[in-house]
Amino acid sequence: MKTNIGVTSLFRILRAPFKRVNMLWYILLFQITPCWINAQEEILNKESDTIMPIDLEEVILISARKELDYQKQPKPLSSLDEYLELSQKVGMIKRGAYAWEPALNNMTSERLSVTIDGMRIFGACTDKMDPITSYVDVSNLAKAHVASGQQGSEYGTCIGGAIDLELDKSNFRETGFKASLEDAFETNNQLVVLGAEANYSNSDFYVDGDIIYRKAENYTAGNGEEIDFSQYTKYNISVNAGYKIDENKAITATTIYDEARDVGYPALPMDVSLARALIASVGFEQNTIGVFSDWKSKVYFNKVTHVMDDSQRPDVPIRMDMPGWSDTYGFFSEINLKIKKQDFLIKWDGFYNKSLAEMTMYPNNPNENPMFMLTWPDVRTWNTGLYAEDKISFKKSSLKLSTRLAVQNNNVADDFGLNSLRIFYPNMEESKTRVLKSVSVQYHKHLDPIHINAGVSYGERAPSVSEGYGFYLFNSFDNHDYIGDPNLKNEQAIEANAKISLEKAKLNIALEGNIFRMPNYIIGEVNTSLSTMTIGADGVKIYENLEYADLINVSVNTEYKVLPELTWSGSISYHQGKDDTDRNLPFISPVSYQSGIQYNKNSFSGAITMKGAGKQVNFSPEFGEDKTSDYIVFSLTLGKTFYLANDLVYAKAGVENVFDKYYSTYTDWKNVPRMGRNFFITFSYKIN
């Protein structure tokens, strides 16, 4: 029996009315490898038992741990970043080969809520070189939940949506002891991946442990050009455990330790000598409590250390160190209530974050004192919120109402930093409190074989630490120093989304789109009266509220089952982002498309995929963007399962960028070229 959870692969499911149709073609559309239909159905069925088909949430399955279904993963040991990039809604902004920054609906970190098992974590790098997705690995994860717009407000205050990375746990399944070894090699950057895991689980107790190590050298772009400073080394260890106090109650605990060293960032003027995170939590779960059910609570903390340095760079105008620290303490507690056709969820959550970053520059004259500043002035953020939703089922339709009300206080704890900011804002208060509101209505109608989804919502967010309190943060893309403004107004978003899909046995077609009107949109604007700090910078930008900005995303996805074992998928999407004066916003995708053919039979799988984008016509010159050229790249994968002395071995090999195309996309910081032709091979050995 194939349980859904064990099924490995990266496919996203719209947990929605589309059921199998949807999944199918999602899988096909955007993935290199399509999924196994049975598995998909199972997943859907299971989901529909517990969740009403209203959440327009995309689920990217990552872990193959519990069941061996490697066919479903195009590249089983690829990085989490590569998995996320396969999602239609998620783009990954690259500053190098490591630690890509997720963008959802063409919006990045500050407009998203990115969580690990519901835990808030904030990167410690002022230059966004450590998105929190870089502090976990595929070895830890079961799924990534991608919720668009205010559908993500369950996880935290957001505008563009939420990405929740769900940790992989045995969860009291009666699987006994299991272990596996994993190994992968890639030719382009001599990437070596070594992984091992061991799990023990019974109905009262489980413990899962895993370790993974990755080491890569510089990669080579399509024309044979070696991209200097694109190497990285990292390892990740995690342990999860759970204990059932009685049939109704369980306690769980999680620890993740992640450390990356010698990480190059070819698009940036600096590298990272250390990026380290310790993530820990203790949870309590109770199945029923009176009329309520599924009571889940968790307390957590995490500690992120990030050390930027330029000691490997041969030629810099001035040497500098830029360490940063981000510590977060948080909790949440949620409970369900089902009354007839209504399903309520209430969640209370909160976190306290300390963000501190400093910069020390060493003058070329060694007799001069170093130049020191606090680039994040020890900002303490305290945020607590109440989230409530109600899903109401009608005949052939359903309605979801949700709301979040949060209070956020920012306090500048360091006098040095406060005085620094008061150079720009002499009357600035050290503390500022904001109230953040969100409401959303989502409706789904089923007119077989057509499904219609539509929703409207309103949300608000507070400025990020950089936007509110950043002090001379250099952005190498637009070549400007950035200064925060603590008096910024909250950014708002009014969002409308709609989706119409046709779901037949062999054919799925879906058209979906969303539009965001964002009053008080926060962006850096040039202030010509200010003197640049960074040597060679073109100017200084201060974060400001624009009157508004608009974002539109539209996509068409199709999937067609040519034969039971052969599936074709294709998708095309259009995006537009403009501000109140009709200027283009940065990081907006050009027209992009994907298409693939997937073959699965018995123990064999194969796929050919094609991915491309049109010319980036609507670029933002103010942000340093240019007209990135169009491109098409092709990939090929083959997989085979076999047994070795009763243990299962899975091998998968493939080639990415088959024709060694030299290209870069709109998400590549300063147009750093992407990897050229790359052969990969992965082995997985399961000891049962």
Partner: protein, 282 residues
């Protein structure tokens, strides 16, 4: 509950103790607490003590406190009239320096003033100071050679120059003495050299400021405020923004009442510094 009571008692007791001890301090308080005795010398059966916040007399602005101790009674004398005259003995000539009159502070045993030394002493040239004071109607004079040195960091806090109006000026920075990454209160004093002995304060001119970091692309800082004359303190006052620690060159321009530039130039891409400047390193 017991524990809480105990803690409470401890807090109350310690508060009482602390307040008592601070009372004691006040009784025996030394008015020169926190100052350095830079030099002292004996004359007329008195020991004359010169104090400063700094360890030495430096070129530039020096705030100086004077106490006179009766050697016989070992007690400090309440001052009534006191004046001073610093003098530089150069190989070819002698001159004094800009200085204030001495004023007697609330504690009558302490008088206070400032001297602005334009140059350090050396092997052949030296400063001395003559102090004239009256005790019980009797006037005394005491004279002592003093060491005036350049500050250890070698940073320029004073400038003596010829203005475009043909007048010789002395401009000295008086604050910040402890610069911070912040908007600092920035003060300076401007004197005209009328003759070798007379240096009156120049009123109502203007000094523009342009702080720069030569080691970091010669960048500037925002929200500085040019120096303007404050009649009450006889100083020029403004605001100086320092966005980071390190070496700052404060480029200056001196303008008279008619806004004519007497000294200094704008900093531009081609002209990286003004000929009139102060330096700060922290």
């Amino acid at each position: 509950m017991k524990t809480i009571k105990l803690i409470f008692t401890a807090i109350i007791l310690s508060t009482i103790f602390v307040s008592c001890s601070s009372d004691d301090d006040e009784i025996i308080a030394n008015p020169m607490e926190g100052f350095n005795l830079v030099t002292s010398f004996d004359a007329n059966n008195h020991s004359i003590e010169l104090y400063s916040k700094k360890n030495d007399f430096n070129i530039g602005y020096n705030e100086v406190y004077i106490r006179i101790k009766d050697i016989g009674s070992k007690s400090y004398v309440s001052q009534s009239e006191i004046s001073w005259m610093p003098m530089m003995h150069m190989t070819q000539m002698e001159h004094s320096c800009p200085k204030s009159t001495l004023t007697i502070t609330e504690d009558k045993t302490v008088s206070k003033g400032f001297m602005v030394f334009q140059m350090p002493g050396n092997a052949d040239e030296y400063w001395d100071i003559t102090i004239t004071y009256t005790i019980n109607g009797e006037e005394f004079t005491a004279k002592k050679t003093i060491d005036v040195i350049s500050p250890a960091d070698g940073k320029q806090k004073i400038s003596t120059f010829m203005g475009s109006d043909g007048t010789r000026y002395v401009l000295t920075m008086t604050a910040p003495t402890e610069p911070k990454v912040a908007i600092n209160d920035f003060t300076a004093m401007l004197f005209k050299m009328e003759n070798m002995m007379t240096f009156p304060v120049v009123e109502d001119y203007k000094i523009t400021i342009d702080p720069r970091m030569p080691s970091m692309g010669n960048h500037s800082s925002p929200n500085n405020e040019d120096l303007s004359y404050d009649a009450a303190s006889k100083m020029y006052k403004g605001k100086l923004s320092l966005t980071m620690t390190g070496y700052w060159k404060i480029n200056l321009k001196l303008l008279n009442e008619s806004q004519e530039v007497l000294k200094g130039e704008d900093v531009t891409v081609d002209n990286l510094e003004s000929s009139l400047f102060f330096e700060i390193e922290f």
